[in-house]
Each structure stands twice: as structure tokens, then as C-alpha cells.
């Protein structure tokens, strides 16, 4: 992961150094010998002081009579970066066989020390803790250097298991850790032996330094363990010397992680010379920092914003506003950590008490249960992940879902079937099978559509009825297709699909009359619907160009008409893309346009991109992951033998993880999440914007229906029977009965009052209590529902009556 981050930086910053493992040595040799010596001396002085204090502390902690000598302690201190607690534990382990009895006598003292030690590293491993008090902008170069070294202590376990200390590591990870610990112990023992042999009293660190090729001893992980207020000091020039440096092979002792830092590129010769001159001006810049950051030191180049740091946080947090979202309180607070540790301790005590006093067995049993399980009702154990932190850490490709819309029989399903086939998501054999079956019932042209239309009814009738979901992946992005039905009767299903989509693909039949009839029909209605549901971007696929003879005139004509229509519908022209293609033959879908469409490749007029290229141009928007959880259920089904009850849908807001308990509205029943699947792969957590499948337990299926909302029990969504909404009318709106749609949810209701007509632009009331709301105008209305359903401000609803979309609304106020 860390490796990738640095790589990413390189893309942006060409002159930035790119190290690799072996090139690093070269770079070192190029340093002047004077420099090296100077630096070593400075570092040594600093280290000695710290070493001395550390040794005294450890001595104290160990108590008199501990066999470990100064050298051993110092060696251990060096390994643990002056973490006293760790050193004490380590030394104790080393000398356990000889003095188990002694240790027991001093147990109280030791326990205190170890528990203190146990808390320290958990803090340090959290990225959020490490970054605490560090500003993201204009970070002094020395600090940014330290951030990179953070990857020496990667919070994620490589072989599975959770990141936080409280979670249980996977078996594999545990095995690996054990093996690693053993090796490290052996090595440490060997080191120790070597040190004692040489009899040097200077310090273990010094001896190590020599072996490390004269590099400065102080490394960043030491800083990592310092409390945050000390980090503040590091910005001072005095600490410039203690500059972190990249570590070679792991001399790190036991539970030190194996993730190694990324290898940066060697800096270009130009930068190096520059750097050297600067070293003469200003004493002791670290090699690492200067190599990484080049000349980005603010003191040297005023007014130049270090681009490196910008890139860095982009990599860490994506494009979303990082500082607001990198919640410093996301993890458990220090108090919580203490409380947890105490709870653990008291639990142990109760157990031991129970052993001794069998009388109070029952009472103790009860208290044990309480302590063991924070949520006793749930059978599923939560890993207590910090989902936001996980999300920030996760190495993710862009993900986007798009809904395919358009008039019936304009070839939506076929185009998507072709796309999946050409991208090898659907293999040739399956397709051949479909082709044969389609031929046998005389619908040979439907073979590609059958990839999406999987039910027998859809195949028999050759019409998509319900949303079909499918996934595919390109180099840049993971896509989710939501293939919507085009027939007007199934618009409720299309609404359900569009509510899960990030952008839309509008498929238009280029054939004579087809385009025109579509524009009167669902091409228009769908476009208005997706716009009113918040979709901003539309890729217009002008389909069946083969039947129109790949005529440029036809394409241009359609493009002009559609641009005019879509811009009046509220889309911005820059968010529209037009691609001519032929779904059945597969031209300009994945493969480039054929010969007759040479005009399309003409760079003067068109950009010549294929459908897939147009899809990839999508830039994902940020999702509301810090809000309370909201997820609309789009399907309730039996996920298999082990998962008798599963639901799927898009997470509208918030995050969730395995073991979470969720509340289903409007039934008000709680359920526990037993498992999460994202794109058919298991996951431990999920955040807003993802389309997930949740396996639920502890709930009866009757409490879950499509259209229900899963929300967090702490901040549940309210069920409302009446609400005020601002609507954009597509038809005449009167006080009348309507179907209210929100995603999969649709309930009968009626417009009870036309409160006011509003000005389209400013939203100012133009007329109170109008008789009728004319199409194309904006009004505020009150709607009463037959049944209470979960709705929230600011939600979007669609009002339909008699099979036509009457209006689209934005919730302003919910009543009751």
C-alpha cells in the first residue's frame, strides 16, 4: 500500500526522487564523507542522552536484581525505539526461565507497567493518532518525512485480521506473527551476545549504527510513541537533527511488522547538486527528507506551496475534503482505551473470584456475560473496526454505478450484454447457449439482451421487467451496471435503479422514427426522472447506428436535439457525452468505430471515444460516509443455505460493518449484520455509495420488505404520514391521489393541499393556494400518505399518477 502511495506521488511530481532498494546505496555513496561524519556525531550525542534516560527508567521498572545488564537494556531500547514499557516486557520474557519467582513477587508493579505498555502501542498504530496535531497544509518537510515512515508500523495485518488491537487476528496472521517473533528473538539474542562480547559500554545503539552503515540512529517510530504535545516540538529547528531515516532490512525486534517502507526513486542529479549546496547553507538536513521532498523546505522557497503534501493527502483521503473527514475522534478515545483495559482486568478478576468462591457462581456468571459481550443479543461478533479509518486506508479503485435508461426496445439490454461480452465478463460459451435458445424461439437478436434479462418471463416477452445488476471492471474503474426497463409500466423499477446510480447512460435508437417516438415517450420521461433524482451526468449512447448507415448527419441531428432537450431538463452541457455505437454488432462499444464512421474519429469534430471510454471519464463524487447509516432495501432474498435472509441495496449514507446492529424502518425491528458482500465478494465493512448485500440475523423476514430503510439504532429514521415538498410539475398537479416513489419504496398517498406556487429560479412564493399547478412550474404541496413510511429531509421523491410521472419533489418538511 505504502509502495503504491509513493508511486502515485511520482506520477504527479516528475522531479521527485524515486528510490528503489538497491539504488539507495548509490545515493549514499554520493554523499560527502564530511557530511556523514558530521551527522553521525550529532545524532550520537542526541541518542546517548536519550539512551541514558531510557536505561535508568527501564532499570527502575525492572527493579533491582534483574539479571539484564546495561548493554542488554540499551540494545533493547534501541530496538524498541525507547519505548520503556516494551523494553521491560521484552527483557522479562528474555529472563523468565531463571526468575519466574521473583517476577511473581513484584507482580503488582509489573502489571502496572505492562498494562501501561499495552496501551501505548494501540494508540500509535492508529493512523489518526499518529497524524494528530499535524496540519495537512504547509507541513514542515521534516514532519512529512515522518509520516512516510509511519508505514513501518502498518496498522493492517497482512494475512488478514483486523487492524485495531482489540480485534482478533486471523489464524494465518497469528501463525506468521509467532514465527516472526521467534526469529526476531533469536536475532535479538544474537545481537545482545555480540554486544556483550565486544564489551563496549558506549551503547548498543552505537554498535548497531556501525552495522547499519553509519546511518543516524534515531528513527521516526520512536517519535510515533511520543505523546502528541511532544510532536509539536519537532517542528523546532533543534530537532532537525533527529531526522528520521529509512530503515533497511528489519533489525526491528518482535512484533514489529514486516511491511517495509516504499522505495523512492533516486533523485535526479540536478536535485542532488542543489541539495548539497543547500546543506552547506543550512546545517544538517536529513538525507531522507531532502531526497523525498527535494527543495520544498518552506524556509528556502517562500511562497511556493509544497505540492508534495497536497498530493500526499489526496492519496490518503481521496479527493474529498480531507481535514473535515479525517475525524480525530473516529477511534476509541484514550479514556475508552483505559476503560476497556480496566473492564478486561476486572473481568479477569471476576473469573478468578468465581473460581475461588463457588458460592456466588450464579451472580458471577451473570456479570461475566455482561462483561464478555457488549451486545448480548447479537450472535455475531463485531470486529469493532473503525470503518472510516479503514475506508481511508483502503486501496480502492474508482467505483461507479450507472443506470441504463431509454425508451423501450432501443437496445439497452442488448448494448449492455454486448459490453459485458466484449469485456469478457460473460464468456462466449454462455452467449452461444443464449443464441441457440433465442434462435429456437425465433428471437435471435435477443441473445445479448438475455445476459441481462434472466427471468423466463423477460425472455419470453423480450422486454426487461426489472432492474438487472451486473459488474465489470476496467483499468481505471469498477463499474456496476443497473439495466433499467424501458417500458412505461415498469418505471417504478427504473426509479429503483436510478436511485442507486451515480450517472446515467441514455440509450437512443438512431433508426428513423424510433428516436422521435422515444423522445415523446420514455426517453423524455427517463431523462427527467434521473435528473430529478439527482443524477448529473449522462452518457448518450446513440445506438443502432448500423441501421442508420453510420450517417454523420443523423448522429449530429440527434446530438443537437438531445443536447437542447437535456439542457432544458437541467443537465449541464459539459456533463453530456454523445457516443455513436451499435449494440448488436458491437461497434464502438469496446472496439473502436468501424470504417463507415471515419468521420467520428475526425479529431476536429468529435473525440472518437468508444462507449467504454466515455464511461471511464466519470469522476466519482464523494459520499456522505460520516452521516448516520441509511440504506434502502432494494431486494430481500434468501442468500443461500448459510444465509437464510439477505438484503441488498445501496448505502445512502453512513457506514456499517459485520456485527453491527441495524434498525429496519418502518417495522422498527433490529437485526444484526452477519456478513457483508460487495460485488459478490465478502467484506468486513462498507460505506455510503457502495451497493452491498447484507446477510442478516436476529430478525424475522416479515419485518423486511423492499423499500424499507435500514438505519442506525442510535439515530433512527422517522416514519412519516405527511410531508411538505417542493415539486417540479411534469403534468398538471391538482389535489389528487398519487403514488409516492422513493427508490424501491412506493406508497399510495394524496396531495392534500397546494400550498403555494413558487418562482422557478428564486423559490419565492408567487401565488398562495393555486387551483392547479401547471406543467413545468415549481410549487410547494402537502402530501398525506396512506401508511407511515420512513422519509427524511432532504429526500427526493417522485409522484406518479395513472401511469405517468406527475412531479418530482424535494422534501422540505416532514410532519408528525
Amino acid at each position: 500500500m505504502a509502495h503504491r502511495r509513493v508511486k502515485d506521488i511520482d506520477y504527479d511530481e516528475d522531479d521527485l526522487a524515486d528510490y528503489s532498494e538497491d539504488e539507495y546505496g548509490e545515493e549514499q555513496e554520493e554523499l560527502s564523507p564530511e557530511d556523514k561524519v558530521q551527522k553521525q556525531v550529532a545524532e550520537l550525542v542526541d541518542n546517548k542522552e536519550q539512551m541514558r534516560i531510557g536505561t535508568i527508567n527501564v532499570r527502575e521498572a525492572l527493579g533491582a536484581g534483574h539479571p539484564a545488564d546495561d548493554a542488554a537494556i540499551q540494545e533493547a531500547l534501541w530496538h524498541y525505539y525507547y519505548d520503556i514499557g516494551k523494553v521491560v516486557t521484552y527483557l522479562k520474557n528474555q529472563h523468565r526461565p531463571q526468575q519466574t519467582k521473583k517476577a511473581k513477587q513484584e507482580s503488582k508493579f509489573d502489571k502496572a507497567a505492562t498494562s501501561a505498555a499495552a496501551q501505548a502501542p494501540t494508540k500509535a498504530t492508529k493512523a489518526s493518532y499518529f497524524f494528530k496535531n499535524v496540519s495537512w497544509f504547509n507541513v514542515p518537510s521534516e514532519m512529512s518525512g515522518q509520516i512516510l515512515v509511519e508505514s513501518l508500523y502498518p496498522p493492517l495485518r497482512l494475512l488478514g485480521g483486523s487492524a485495531s488491537g482489540s480485534g482478533k487476528p486471523s489464524k494465518l496472521a497469528a501463525l506468521a506473527a509467532a514465527r516472526k517473533k521467534k526469529e526476531a528473538e533469536q536475532k535479538a539474542a544474537a545481537d545482545q551476545a555480540a554486544d556483550t562480547e565486544s564489551g563496549k559500554t558506549t551503547s548498543g545503539a552505537a554498535s548497531l549504527l556501525e552495522r547499519l552503515g553509519g546511518r543516524p540512529a534515531r528513527t521516526a517510530p520512536g517519535l510515533e510513541n511520543q505523546p502528541p504535545r511532544e510532536q509539536g516540538k519537532m517542528a523546532e529547528p533543534s530537532t532537525l537533527k533527529t531526522f528520521p531515516i529509512r530503515k533497511r532490512k528489519s533489525p526491528s525486534p518482535p512484533p514489529a511488522p514486516k511491511r517495509r517502507p516504499s522505495s523512492p526513486k533516486p533523485s535526479s542529479p540536478a536535485t542532488q547538486t542543489q541539495m548539497e549546496t543547500k546543506q552547506e547553507l543550512r546545517a544538517n538536513p536529513s538525507i531522507f527528507a531532502s531526497a523525498m521532498c527535494g527543495n520544498t523546505r518552506p524556509s528556502l522557497e517562500y511562497g511556493v506551496k509544497p505540492r508534495f503534501q497536497q498530493n500526499f493527502h489526496t492519496i490518503l483521503f481521496g479527493d474529498s475534503d480531507p481535514y473535515a473527514k479525517s475525524n480525530p475522534f473516529a477511534g476509541p478515545s484514550p479514556d475508552d482505551v483505559v476503560a476497556q483495559a480496566q473492564a478486561k482486568g476486572s473481568k479477569k478478576q471476576t473469573t478468578s473470584q468465581k473460581d475461588s468462591k463457588a458460592v456466588n457462581g450464579v451472580a458471577n456468571g451473570v456479570s461475566n456475560i455482561n462483561l464478555d459481550e457488549p451486545a448480548p443479543s447479537s450472535k455475531v461478533k463485531s470486529k469493532n473496526l473503525d470503518v472510516l479509518a479503514e475506508y481511508e486506508k483502503s486501496d480502492r479503485k474508482n467505483a461507479a454505478s450507472f443506470v441504463v435508461i431509454g425508451h423501450v426496445d432501443h437496445g439497452k439490454s442488448t448494448l449492455m450484454g454486448r459490453l459485458l461480452h466484449d469485456l469478457k465478463v460473460v464468456d462466449q460459451r454462455t452467449l452461444d447457449k443464449y443464441r441457440k435458445e433465442a434462435n429456437s424461439i425465433g428471437k435471435s437478436s435477443f441473445a445479448f439482451a438475455w445476459v441481462m434479462d434472466s427471468t423466463s418471463e423477460e425472455r419470453e416477452r423480450g422486454v426487461t421487467v426489472d432492474i438487472a445488476m451486473n459488474h465489470f471492471e476496467t483499468d481505471k474503474t469498477r463499474f456496476t451496471i443497473l439495466d433499467a426497463p424501458g417500458h412505461r409500466d415498469f418505471i417504478p423499477n427504473m426509479i429503483a435503479g436510478a436511485s442507486q446510480a451515480d450517472f446515467a447512460v441514455l440509450v437512443i435508437d438512431a433508426g428513423t422514427n424510433s428516436f422521435e417516438s422515444g423522445l415523446k415517450g420514455q426517453t423524455k420521461e427517463h431523462a427527467l426522472l434521473v435528473r430529478s433524482m439527482g443524477v448529473q451526468r449522462v452518457v448518450v449512447a446513440v445506438n443502432k447506428m448500423d441501421s442508420a448507415g453510420w450517417s454523420e448527419d443523423r448522429f449530429v441531428e440527434i446530438k443537437q436535439q438531445m443536447t437542447a432537450f437535456l439542457t432544458t431538463a437541467g443537465f449541464q452541457a459539459k456533463n453530456l457525452a454523445f457516443v455513436p455505437c451499435a449494440g448488436l454488432t458491437g461497434e464502438n462499444v469496446v472496439a473502436p468505430a468501424p470504417e463507415p464512421a471515419a468521420w467520428y474519429k475526425d479529431a476536429e469534430k468529435f473525440n472518437g471515444e468508444t462507449l467504454i471510454q466515455a464511461l471511464e471519464a466519470y469522476e466519482p463524487a464523494k459520499a456522505a460516509i460520516t452521516q448516520p447509516l441509511r440504506m434502502t432495501i432494494s431486494d430481500v432474498f434468501r442468500g443461500g443455505v448459510t444465509n437464510p435472509l439477505s438484503v441488498s441495496g445501496k448505502i445512502d449514507a453512513g457506514s456499517l460493518q459485520v456485527g453491527d446492529s441495524v434498525l429496519a424502518a418502518p417495522s422498527g425491528e433490529t437485526a444484526s449484520i452477519k456478513g457483508i458482500e460487495i460485488e459478490d465478494e465478502g467484506a468486513d465493512w462498507a460505506v455510503a455509495g457502495q451497493i452491498v448485500t447484507l446477510h442478516l440475523v436476529d430478525i424475522d423476514p416479515v419485518h423486511l420488505r423492499t423499500g424499507d430503510v435500514l438505519c442506525s439504532p442510535q439515530k433512527p429514521i422517522r416514519n412519516v404520514r405527511s410531508f411538505t415538498t417542493k415539486i417540479l410539475a411534469f403534468e398538471h398537479v391538482l389535489p389528487m391521489q398519487v403514488d409516492v416513489h422513493r427508490g424501491r419504496l412506493h406508497v399510495p398517498g394524496r396531495i392534500t393541499q397546494l400550498v403555494a406556487s413558487l418562482d422557478k429560479g428564486s423559490g419565492v412564493v408567487t401565488k398562495k393556494k393555486p387551483k392547479v399547478v401547471q406543467p413545468g412550474t415549481v410549487a410547494r404541496v402537502t402530501i398525506e400518505l396512506d401508511a407511515a413510511v420512513p422519509l427524511e429531509v432532504p429526500g427526493r421523491v417522485v409522484l406518479r399518477a395513472n401511469g405517468a410521472t406527475v412531479a418530482a419533489g424535494l422534501l422540505e418538511q416532514v410532519h408528525q
Binding site: 426489472d466 435528473r531 423559490g763 424535494l810
Partner: protein
């Protein structure tokens, strides 16, 4: 309903009528006929408590007696077709004293006598006449459905009664997985629905009647209704069930926009249905409401709704001869307050007799009546356009103050970017 005896004075409407309800639909008419403050006389079963003079011990017995009540409230249960009338005893007899309360359950085949407080008005006479009309006996069963949701209802001349709602979670189709889950779910839904429909229609085995089943209307978006029709056909063949086979030819399939009850309006207006169901009352009402809505959309000032607006239009003589139509929901005549009832009766009388317009009383139990209720229960199609009815209305409206507040609150909030 049968008219047993009637002595109503044509002049002032005083007098009584004795009626015999024969079928559940008649209870609906009785509900519309009997108003609070009317005098109702019918046989009743009352529990009477007696105290023995010597010991003071009490014993109670149920006695059948004829009671005369001054009606205070009515309670109609459309699903069961029962009417409960509460009132004070107006005529003493040996079991009850004057002023005691009693709740009568009107029963089929038991006559009741009704005397109107302020005399029989035109509306009451209209309802009476209509309730005695034996010819309009159209009845049909309708199922509005979509996948996983169905409303089974009985449509009679005057009511649409929702008998049962079936909601079932059918798994949606999913990529990769076989569609068997979806198909299994659909099959389960259809079988439950068929059982329900047969039970409601009285065609299920134990109570299976030999009589001709009533027509069954299936309506849905998409192909659900068609698929269900073919499911019934295959079931009829598979089961070898005669009643089921006799039902098959009675099935009408129509298109509905959704499975919600209010889409029945669209179904009943569709030519496929009107052709088969001839000129029934609900079809007429639906057509009339559609016409009203069309005029309202045209926005030429010839369609007005709402109590005050309509009254104003009538005052100006716009609801008169040559196309003026007053649409009024029967719910307005059931108002608790006599004054309110009189107001509407006067309006109807005026349009009918003075202005010469047409008056249609819509059943609030039909979808068309529900639509009208949304508009305030009364609407009018005018003979000539009036543009300024609304302006005149000014600010004196009752709910105005409250709404003002609400508006203020809403407007204070930041005006969000609208969809377009």
C-alpha cells in the same frame, strides 16, 4: 331494499318510511339515509336488569323489544356491511326509560321505520329512491395487482370495498444467480392470491356455491394480470375444479398503472371494462370526474372546486342550464351538524330547481368519490368561464391563519436548489 310502508307528505316532507334491507349493499343506503337527530324505530335486543323488591338481588335478562331512538351517531363497517346506530330512547316502554342510551344493530330482513327530524329533503328522497331501485345490481370483483402486492376488492353500484390486501416479498432477479428464487416467489404469490380470491368470492370448496360467479377483473401494470389469468386457467385444468372452470370465462384483464387502490379509477374508465360492464353508476361517475379533471387541466376557468368557490359560482348562475354540473360527495350530507347538512341540501336544491343544472351525488365509497373528496368534496363544471372566483375569496378563509404560519416557517428556510 324494500319499501314496506310510506306516509311522507309531499309538501313538507314530514312522515315516516318503513324499509326492509335485503342485502349488504342496503346497509350502505341506510347509512346514507339515517342522520343524527332522526327518529329510528326498529326491533332490538336489550339486556334488562331487574331488582327483586324483597331481597335486593338483581338478575338480568335479554329481551326483544321495539325501540324508538333519537339517533346520535352512526357507525358503518363497509367490510362486514354492518350498521350500528346509537341514540337515546325517545319512547318509553316497559323495559326502557326515556333518555336511556341504546345501540341498535340494523339487520338484514328486519324492517326499520325512519322519521326525519326536519322532514325528508330532496337528497334523502333521492337516496330512498335509489335504494329501492332493483335494476342497478351490477357487482364485480376486482384485483389490482403487481408483483408482490394485490388488492382484492368488491365493486358494487355504490361502493368499492377492499376485502383483502396481499403483500408478499418476492425476491428480485439477480445477476449470476438462477432466477428460480424469483419464479418460486411468484408462484407462491399467485397461489396465495388465487386462494384468497376464491375464498372472498365464496367459491372455495366448503362454501362453494353453484350460482354463477360474478365477473372477475384483473388489472396490473405489465404482464402480471395476464400471467395470473393463465395461472388460473392451468389451475382450473389441473385441479379439475368446476367452479374454477366456470370462473375462467368471467375474467376480464385490464391495464392499471399500479397495484394501489386508486388506480382502479383508471381501470374502470378503460374501454375494455366499460364495454363489458355497460352503464354502471361507477363508470358514469368515473367518466364525470375525468371530464372535470380535463377541464381543470385546460385551465379555462370552467372548472372549480372547493366549497366556497363552488358556492360563489352557483351564486353567479354559472352552474345552470346547458352543461352546468355540480359534483358533490355524499359524505357531505352525513355531516354531524344539521346546519352544514342543510347548507349542502340547499345548494343542491338550488342548482337542480332554480338554476336548472345537473347534480351528481358521488359515492364516497367509490374511487371517483375519493378523488372528489380530495378536492374538498364538491366541484362544479361551469357553463361559462369565471376567472376571478379566487380573487374575490380574499383572505377570510378559516384555515388561513394556520397556513400563514406554516408558510412563514417554510420560507424562512434556505431555498434549496430545485431539481431544475
Amino acid at each position: 331494499m324494500k319499501l314496506v310502508k310510506q306516509n311522507i307528505e309531499q309538501k313538507d316532507g314530514t312522515g315516516t318510511a318503513t324499509l326492509l334491507p335485503e342485502e349488504p349493499e342496503d346497509m350502505w343506503h341506510a347509512y346514507n339515509l339515517i342522520r343524527p337527530t332522526d327518529l329510528l324505530r326498529a326491533t332490538a335486543i336489550r339486556r334488562v336488569q331487574n331488582e327483586s323488591a324483597s331481597t335486593g338481588s338483581t338478575f338480568s335478562q335479554r329481551v326483544q323489544t321495539t325501540l324508538t331512538l333519537r339517533v346520535t351517531s352512526l357507525d358503518f363497517d363497509p367490510q362486514a356491511g354492518q350498521l350500528h346506530v346509537s341514540g337515546k330512547v325517545a319512547a318509553e316502554n316497559k323495559y326502557v326509560k326515556q333518555g336511556q342510551y341504546h345501540t341498535l344493530d340494523l339487520e338484514l330482513q328486519r324492517p326499520f321505520t325512519l322519521e326525519k327530524e326536519g322532514g325528508w329533503d330532496s337528497i334523502a328522497l333521492g337516496v330512498l329512491k335509489e335504494s329501492l331501485d332493483q335494476s342497478a345490481r351490477a357487482e364485480l370483483w376486482a384485483v389490482v395487482m403487481q408483483e408482490g402486492l394485490a388488492n382484492v376488492c368488491l365493486i358494487t353500484g355504490h361502493q368499492t370495498i377492499l376485502r383483502q390486501r396481499i403483500e408478499m416479498s418476492i425476491p428480485k432477479k439477480r445477476a449470476g444467480a438462477s432466477s428460480s428464487d424469483h419464479e418460486k416467489g411468484s408462484a407462491r404469490f399467485f397461489s396465495t392470491l388465487l386462494d384468497t380470491v376464491l375464498r372472498q368470492m365464496g367459491l372455495s370448496p366448503p362454501t362453494s356455491s353453484t350460482a354463477d360467479p360474478k365477473p372477475l377483473l384483473l388489472a396490473s401494470p405489465g404482464f402480471t394480470a395476464t400471467t395470473f389469468q393463465s395461472y388460473i386457467k392451468t389451475q382450473a385444468v389441473q385441479r379439475g375444479d368446476k367452479t374454477l372452470s366456470s370462473l375462467v370465462p368471467k375474467i376480464i384483464v385490464a391495464h392499471a398503472a399500479s397495484a394501489h387502490l386508486h388506480s382502479l379509477a383508471e381501470v374502470l374508465a378503460s374501454p375494455a371494462v366499460t364495454a363489458k360492464l355497460a352503464d354502471t353508476r361507477f363508470a358514469r361517475e368515473t367518466a364525470l370526474m375525468d371530464r372535470f379533471y380535463a377541464l381543470l387541466r385546460a385551465d379555462d376557468g370552467r372548472a372549480w372546486y372547493g366549497p366556497r368557490e363552488v358556492e360563489r359560482a352557483v351564486d353567479r348562475g354559472a352552474v345552470g342550464r346547458g352543461g352546468g354540473v355540480l359534483l358533490i360527495s355524499d359524505a357531505l350530507f352525513r355531516a354531524q351538524n344539521v346546519g352544514v347538512r342543510r347548507r349542502w341540501v340547499r345548494l343542491v336544491d338550488r342548482v337542480r330547481e332554480v338554476e336548472g343544472g345537473e347534480v351528481r351525488v358521488l359515492s364516497s365509497m367509490h374511487e371517483s368519490g375519493r378523488r372528489l373528496e380530495g378536492l374538498g368534496g364538491v366541484a362544479a363544471i361551469l357553463t361559462f368561464p369565471i376567472e376571478d372566483v379566487e380573487e374575490e375569496e380574499g383572505v377570510e378563509g378559516e384555515g388561513e391563519g394556520v397556513e400563514e404560519n406554516l408558510n412563514g416557517r417554510v420560507e424562512e428556510r434556505e431555498v434549496r436548489e430545485m431539481v431544475i
